[in-house]
């Protein structure tokens, strides 16, 4: 149970605390006052402009809600749609949840700390909204739940807090996107996410970022995986952004818990991405894998990965592969930390260009140079994600394909 006053006090102290990594942002340049939007029922949701539909779609959200078990849509600071189709799956705006349900208090700011930096502090002090998604014990989603956080208001700082809970033996698939109006110039998104994967539960969380050129983005997420749990986290960002910095942390706290983190980043010119992940392996039988594929088309990408093996009998692998296509920078920072005998940890990092030999090989089958190059690039981005249902894999492929047209 959290205490409102002590949380505010703790956050207030960190209101000006710079983040450990990433360029510092002056939050006073942004407005945090609420921006109201009307709630859209199913019918009105279908009537939004084609442009908005496309923006949603690029972030993995289908407004027709076909093949989706639940939906959460937030525009600026307001919830515009929220529902669920499946018994045992809850999708609730976090503000409502905090008012109505005691159990939410046990999860709010439980893993992430409000005083980590000025961004977490701001989200604690000035929360707009966010979602709580929970699968009750034993409940498994057939189709994913979709969530989208959209920014349309110029100069807004959007503060979001999400809590995702998979109770024992449950299975939850979430596809979530962040997107902005194509006309947006300036804005910042601060998103806190806390994941609780309980005994024998499984969460696949696929996040697609679709920002505008001048956006600042500071997600802060922490996951905790209990015995035999599986956390599968996919992150895709193929669009420009002014500055994106995130370093999600996963704690494997139960025996045989597993975490797999995959990210695909295509860096556009004048964009800066500082992304990575960290996994603590704390119990025997834990497994973790961090796989990153980055392409620089002139952007700056820092790709981090940190695996910490605290006990024997754990297995962890880190793979950072980067391609520099049109200038820019890729800085791969793989870190391994073994604290006990019998840990099995490895990493593989490579930054380079497309091998000529591969281009020629495809050309000898009739492709021209450009086709050959984009085929190889698409292959490079096509990582096999074990455990990801084909439905979600198709979403990932679709997101890549949609962005592909703009990027390459």
């Amino acid at each position: 149970m959290y205490d409102k006053d002590s949380l505010r006090e703790k956050a207030a102290k960190a209101a000006h605390k710079k983040a450990a990594i990433g360029p510092d942002i002056d939050l006073d340049e942004f407005q945090r006052s609420p921006v109201e939007h009307e709630y859209l029922d199913d019918e009105r949701l279908l009537k939004i402009s084609e442009e908005e539909k496309r923006q949603f779609l690029m972030a993995g959200v289908d407004v027709s809600k076909k093949e989706r078990m639940g939906t959460y849509l937030q525009m600026d600071t307001s919830v515009v749609h929220c529902d669920t189709k499946q018994e045992g799956i809850e999708v609730i705006p976090i503000k409502t949840a905090l008012e109505k349900y005691d159990w939410v208090q046990d999860y709010y700011w439980k893993l992430a700390s409000a005083d980590q930096d000025k961004y977490t502090a701001s989200a604690a002090l000035d929360l707009h909204n966010g979602y709580v998604i929970r699968a009750l014990p034993g409940v498994k989603t057939v189709y994913p739940i979709q969530a989208c956080l959209y920014i349309g208001k110029e100069g807004l700082q959007q503060n979001v807090h999400n809590i995702i809970i998979a109770e024992e033996d449950s299975e939850l698939h979430i596809i979530t996107g962040c997107s902005t109006s194509p006309h947006l110039k300036k804005g910042i998104h601060v998103g806190i996410s806390e994941f609780f994967i309980k005994k024998n539960a499984k969460i696949s969380f696929t996040m697609i970022h679709n920002w505008a050129e001048d956006m600042m983005v500071r997600p802060r997420s922490v996951a905790q995986v209990e015995e035999n749990g599986l956390f599968l986290n996919n992150y895709i960002c193929m669009k420009p952004v002014r500055s994106l910095q995130m370093y999600p942390t996963t704690h494997l706290v139960g025996d045989n818990a597993v975490a797999r983190l995959y990210s695909i980043i295509v860096g556009s010119p004048e964009s800066e991405y500082d992304v990575g992940g960290r996994v603590f392996l704390k119990k025997p039988g834990n497994k973790a894998e961090i796989v990153a594929r980055t392409i620089s088309n002139g952007g700056r990408i820092i790709s981090r990965g940190h695996l910490i093996g605290e006990v024997p009998d754990i297995k962890a692998h880190l793979e950072c592969k980067g391609l520099i296509l049109k200038g820019g920078l890729i800085y791969a920072v793989p870190e391994l930390e073994g604290h006990a005998d019998g840990v099995e940890m490895s990493h593989e990092a490579a930054v380079g260009k497309i091998a000529q030999e591969e281009i020629f090989y495809l050309m000898s089958r009739g492709m021209d140079e450009e086709e050959a190059t984009s085929t190889i690039v698409r292959g490079f981005l096509n990582v096999d994600i074990p455990g990801l249902p084909p439905q979600l894999k198709a979403e990932v492929d679709k997101a890549i394909e949609l962005s592909d047209k703009d990027v390459m």
Partner: protein, 254 residues
Amino acid sequence: MLLIEDLQVELAGNIILKHIDLEIKPGETHVLFGPNGSGKTSLLMTIMGYPQYRITNGRIVFKGVDITEKPINERARLGVGMSYQRPPTINGLKTRQMVQFCSSREIDVDELARRVNFNNLLDRDVNSGFSGGEIKRSELLQLMAQDADLLLFDEPESGVDMENISLVGNTIATLLQKDCEAIQNKSRLQQKRERTKMGLIITHTGYILDYIPVDKGQVLYEGVLSCSTNPREILQCISDFGYEECVRCTIKTH
């Protein structure tokens, strides 16, 4: 027809092919022998159009078009196809997609794959972790989809086991329109006349000769095409006297 005239090729500053003259008429298949490092693969790569093989003299004409300066993909579109000795891995590209890309029309990839016993490998990345023999069958599968007119085979039977060798041999024969059983109610002579596919096959062992009737054998030695005669005779000569002697003796008798 493929016509190569007085070809000289440099690789990384060294002359690796000298005064190559070669003519393959429609319907003909030649085999190419030669010791390791003699330039056989280089000759095929040069015909295919790999730019690191710099042509410093001579020309290559295919179907009446001078392709000496043409990029690889244009040669492929004209009908040159190659089965590689050591093709690169393409990560993330499934063999199934690759085979489809090879063809200009919609094809039944599974059906084609069945013919070279490749179905359970179609969903693997191209050449990723393929065994020696699997690479050969993957290359053949791609050529089957490509439907080229001049087929270059770089050691198609190396590393292939005794059982698969007949599969590989017969597939090549089909690709080169040399399988006699396939087309019934036509005389052999008629078949031969209607044959248009051209082949150039590199082999060390000559096992492939058991499956494909070949028109001519050639020996490449130190970058020079030294003789052309019946392939079985060449093979016998090489095994009896070695390449060097073989090249010398046949030059004398010519």
